[in-house]
């Protein structure tokens, strides 16, 4: 009988491919950031498949937003922990942490 509907993974790859021109026009650092967004959305493909939304890209965007919010919450927690410990040296800069 054959598949009658593309899978969530196929939809994701198609959507990612549809942004290839946009990605190509970005600076290298922006390309890497965009790739990270798509990688983040990949973590929720199973949920996207289960959602069976008529517009899959909206679900992928929500998944990206979800991961970004999780990162914001993690950073906020770290900041709060750092602020509540007087006398302690400030936490190292995040960028230098990633470079190191």
């Amino acid at each position: 009988m054959g598949r009658t509907l593309p899978s969530a993974t196929q939809n994701f790859l198609l959507e990612e491919e549809s942004f290839s021109r946009f990605r190509r026009a970005l600076r290298r650092s922006d390309q890497l950031a965009l790739d990270e967004l798509f990688v983040a959305a990949r973590q929720h493909l199973a949920a996207a498949a289960y959602a069976a939304h008529a517009l899959p890209m909206e679900v992928f965007l929500l998944a990206m937003l979800l991961e970004e919010h999780k990162e914001v919450r993690r950073l906020r927690t770290r900041l709060e922990q750092a602020e509540t410990l007087p006398g302690q040296p400030p936490p190292p800069d995040l960028e230098s942490e990633e470079d190191g």
């Binding site: 054959g2 009658t4 008529a54 517009l55």
Partner: protein, 264 residues
Amino acid sequence: MPMMIHKMARKRAGLFKLDTALLLTKLMITSAPWDGKVFLLRNDGNHHSPLNSCRSSPTGGIVICRLVHYPESMNLPGFPLSGSLALLIGPHAAQARMLDLAARLAVGGPLRVFDCGNRFNVYPVARAIRSRTADLSQALGRIRLARAFTCYQVMALLEEAADEAVSTLVLDLLATFYDEDVRLPESQRLLRRCLVQLRRLGQAAPVIISARPPKPIVYAERIGLLEALRTAAGAVWEENIKLADFPAEQGPGIQPESPPRLDF
């Protein structure tokens, strides 16, 4: 062209009774991907300048028709009316255009889709609908989809389809008829029965069929099926080719290289 369409619609309105004419109008407006000017035609043959809204007359029949405008190479001068079959031929059975057409029609009213070649992908249709209206779920809900995976199922699908005033799209009608496992005489017999049913369905509302040429391996044997379908259609458009075989406007179409013509 608007005058020609109006005359055709007038013929179908019978005695120009107001209710018949308005019903036909409703079919034409809600079934077609209308875009463009609105012309008002009274039954005395005169047509007025373009209007922005529809009006009815207390006397006689009024037929209102809007020009349809497709972008790119499918700039159709008019939308097929009930009583005729429209045929789109393209390399992939004009899939992209048919899906876009499905989206346009679904925005305006109910739509029936017979997918005979696994061509219907709801995601492009949803995107196209979303670009036209915010009410995505309601528009999608207007689409009734039925799939067939063998030519026998295609025939059964069409025979069991009710006569409804609902536009019908038939995607890749001949896909299963090209199957080498089905003997050619059998394919021809089934296609004949399908064409009868399509004409029946076309009496109530526009029927738009898409098809593709057969693959090279079966081209010589099966091209007659496409030719038979082309003959049965009232209007034929070929993708990436100028308009062909529509009244008052002729254009060249892609012709196969001297295939053997099979009696059908």
